[in-house]
């Protein structure tokens, strides 16, 4: 008659697919939304690219390790940052979305496991950011002179970005856990906020760290993005692989690329388990004082 619910592998896969389908459906719900996003991408690139075009030769000297072309430098910076910031914010927004629509409780009593819940609610955003990246590349290459010259090593760049993405996901999980722990529901959580500030100011998305005062450069070394951007840019457009661009490079005799990779791996090893632990703690805490649902 009545049956206990079971979630075998096929059921889990089906659930995951349902999540993806739902996110894409919502995204494509507004037909022109797609075009609007693309236009946003365009203007986002254009502002910096135009400044870069004007700046041109004047800034070449400080960009030597990265091939000296500011337009390519800034556009690649934006692209890499897009990927990493997505993985930074996806878990947070996934949980928030479920929370504000009141779906959180219903999913919590459904037999799906917590990892499935987290990945399911955030996976759609990864898909979207990949599509955005494609458009960034297209615009950059066609309109704004993104030069992918020099000793190109795509594999290496992608590897670095992947590791960095993992590290960022860990940070993202920590941020998401704060929804429960300190009720950071205003659309910003302290961790993502601080990291975001550092990324904007001192990770070298828009300008090389060399123009910053020393202490800010050191601040930049506190977040994975800095290393990822540095290494990925070198492998995409870099020539002088051995030039030390981050203050931390000076401390080690190993090649900067090695240092970057080591740093990124270290970050992932710390952030991912920590983030996971915090998230579970958060859920537990929320169940303690009954704040899973929007209204107590």
């Amino acid at each position: 008659m009545t049956e206990e619910l079971r979630m075998d592998r096929r059921a889990n896969l089906r659930a995951m697919w349902t999540f993806v389908k739902r996110d894409l459906k919502i995204w494509t719900y507004f037909k022109l939304n797609f075009l609007i996003d693309i236009a946003g991408i365009f203007s986002n690139i254009a502002i910096y690219a135009i400044i870069a075009m004007v700046a041109g030769k004047a800034v070449e000297s400080s960009l030597n390790p990265f091939g000296g072309d500011y337009a390519s430098y800034v556009i690649l910076g934006i692209i890499f940052n897009e990927i990493m910031s997505t993985s930074l914010s996806a878990p947070y927004w996934g949980t928030m979305d479920a929370f504000w629509t009141g779906r959180l409780e219903i999913l919590m009593i459904s037999p799906i496991s917590t990892p499935l819940f987290v990945t399911g609610t955030s996976i759609g955003r990864y898909v979207r950011s990949l599509i955005n990246v494609a458009f960034y590349l297209i615009f950059g290459a066609l309109l704004f002179g993104l030069k992918l010259g020099g000793t190109i090593n795509y594999g290496l760049a992608i590897l670095y970005i992947l590791v960095a993405t993992i590290a960022c996901t860990g940070l993202g999980l920590m941020g998401a856990s704060l929804i429960y722990l300190i009720e950071a529901r205003g659309g910003e959580d302290p961790i993502r906020w601080i990291v975001g500030i550092l990324v904007g100011l001192a990770s070298g998305v828009y300008y090389p760290l060399s123009i910053l005062p020393q202490w800010m450069q050191w601040l930049g070394c506190l977040i994975p993005q800095t290393y990822a951007l540095d290494a990925a840019r070198r492998s995409m457009i870099g020539e002088a692989i051995r030039a030390k661009t981050l203050p931390i490079h000076g401390l080690f005799s190993a090649s900067p690329m090695m240092v970057d990779m080591a740093a990124l791996i270290a970050f992932s090893l710390v952030t991912v388990p920590l983030g996971w632990w915090m998230y579970n703690q958060g859920v537990r805490r929320a169940k303690m004082d009954g704040r899973l649902s929007r209204w107590v």
């Binding site: 719900y29 037909k31 022109l32 939304n33 209204w295 107590v296």
Partner: protein, 367 residues
């Protein structure tokens, strides 16, 4: 004061607080969907244009269909109907949230088409689920005071009125909470509080006691009926799903179905209108299976339903439907005695307002 003078200017309106003249409201077959974005809307409009060239005029659903009803001044008027019958739309029209397609209505003597601001000034309304509109940063008390002031009460008067309302709805201990932290019942109370603050001549209540526990509901009904309606003579138009509530409070009840008002009368008359004969309910001990036939044998019996709850001691109920219970009751009980069974309990079941409701809307809903 002002309302008073305005009413004088409409002498014919003297004793009608609300009066509708075949009021009608239609919505497009697909009403604007709030989730749809503007881009969809553009394509939608273009499509419509093209279709219009093909077949002229677009199909519509009629939410309120030629409603003519008069609510006397100081009357407690009930509005019953299934979900989506157009009750809320009607109230929306009367509160100037909607603009009618045809006909018009006079609320407190003001035309809802032309004198919207005066209508607003002469009525108060609670909206189901409108609690979100309260400021989430203000406490319950601050919110209520805020609205009291908006309705033009002076500061001190507002304060005492809020205190009174908090007392009635016993929200006192929740005074310093913010709406976000209230339970659903409490939020409903908050809405009611807003409606009770000010003594406007006309009061619209859209499912006032939904989600309230019987105790709170009792207090609310008591206040609305005795204080607002009886003492202050405020005209109340209430839509509800609780039949007992309507039966208890309303002087007259209108039953709405598919946008039309299918019946308007006092609860008693409505009930007697659906009452076909009497229904005797007898609880009988150690009864025999053929008892039903025996009773059917008597003359003047339409129908007998027998239902044994406890086969061992033969305890069960016998429901006898008959044109006139007074004539038949004695014979029935005698027959039962003769069968060796014993009558434990007798009751004459009278139809409730729920029976009326189902009679007017139920069958049609089934199809």
């Amino acid at each position: 004061m002002e309302t008073y003078r305005k009413i004088r200017r409409h002498p014919q309106m003297q004793d009608y607080a609300i009066e509708t003249f075949n009021l009608s409201k239609r919505f497009g077959i697909k009403p604007l969907e709030e989730w749809k974005g503007w881009e969809d809307q553009l394509t939608h409009l273009i499509k419509e244009r093209l279709q219009k060239k093909g077949k002229n005029g677009k199909r519509e659903t009629t939410a309120v269909d030629c409603v003519n009803t008069k609510v006397k001044r100081g009357e407690f008027f009930g509005l019953l109907g299934p979900n989506g019958a157009g009750k809320t739309t009607l109230i929306k029209l009367l509160t100037c949230l909607l603009y009618p397609d045809e006909g018009t209505a006079l609320v407190n003597g003001f035309d809802i088409r032309k004198e919207g601001d005066k209508v607003r000034a002469s009525m108060n309304v609670i909206i189901s689920g409108g609690w979100l509109g309260f400021n989430f940063a203000l406490t319950v008390q601050q919110n209520l005071e805020f609205f009291a002031r908006i309705y033009g009460l002076q500061k001190d008067l507002a304060k005492e009125r809020v205190a009174e309302v908090l007392d009635i709805l016993d929200l006192k201990d929740k005074r310093t909470e913010v709406p976000l932290y209230l339970s659903s019942g409490m939020r409903q109370k908050l809405l009611l509080g807003k409606a009770f603050l000010v003594r406007a001549p006309v009061l619209f209540l859209d499912e006032p006691t939904i989600g309230l526990d019987p105790r709170a509901a009792y207090d609310v009904r008591d206040f609305v009926k005795n204080k607002l309606n009886r003492e202050y003579g405020i005209t109340v138009l209430m839509s509800t799903h609780y039949m007992e509530e309507a039966d208890l409070l309303c002087d007259r009840v209108a039953i709405m179905h598919e946008g039309k008002i299918v019946a308007t009368d006092t609860p008693e008359d409505l009930k007697s209108s659906v009452k076909k004969g009497d229904l005797l309910e007898l609880k009988v001990a150690n009864m025999t299976p053929d008892l039903a036939e025996k009773i059917k044998g008597l003359d003047g019996i339409d129908d007998v339903v027998m239902h044994i709850t406890d086969p061992v001691s033969g305890v069960g109920t016998v429901r006898v439907r008959t044109p006139n219970g007074r004539k038949i009751l004695a014979d029935v009980s005698k027959t039962i005695e003769e069968e060796g069974a014993s009558v434990k309990f007798v009751n004459n079941v009278d139809p409730t307002l729920e029976d009326v409701f189902i009679n007017f809307t139920g069958k049609r809903l089934r199809e």
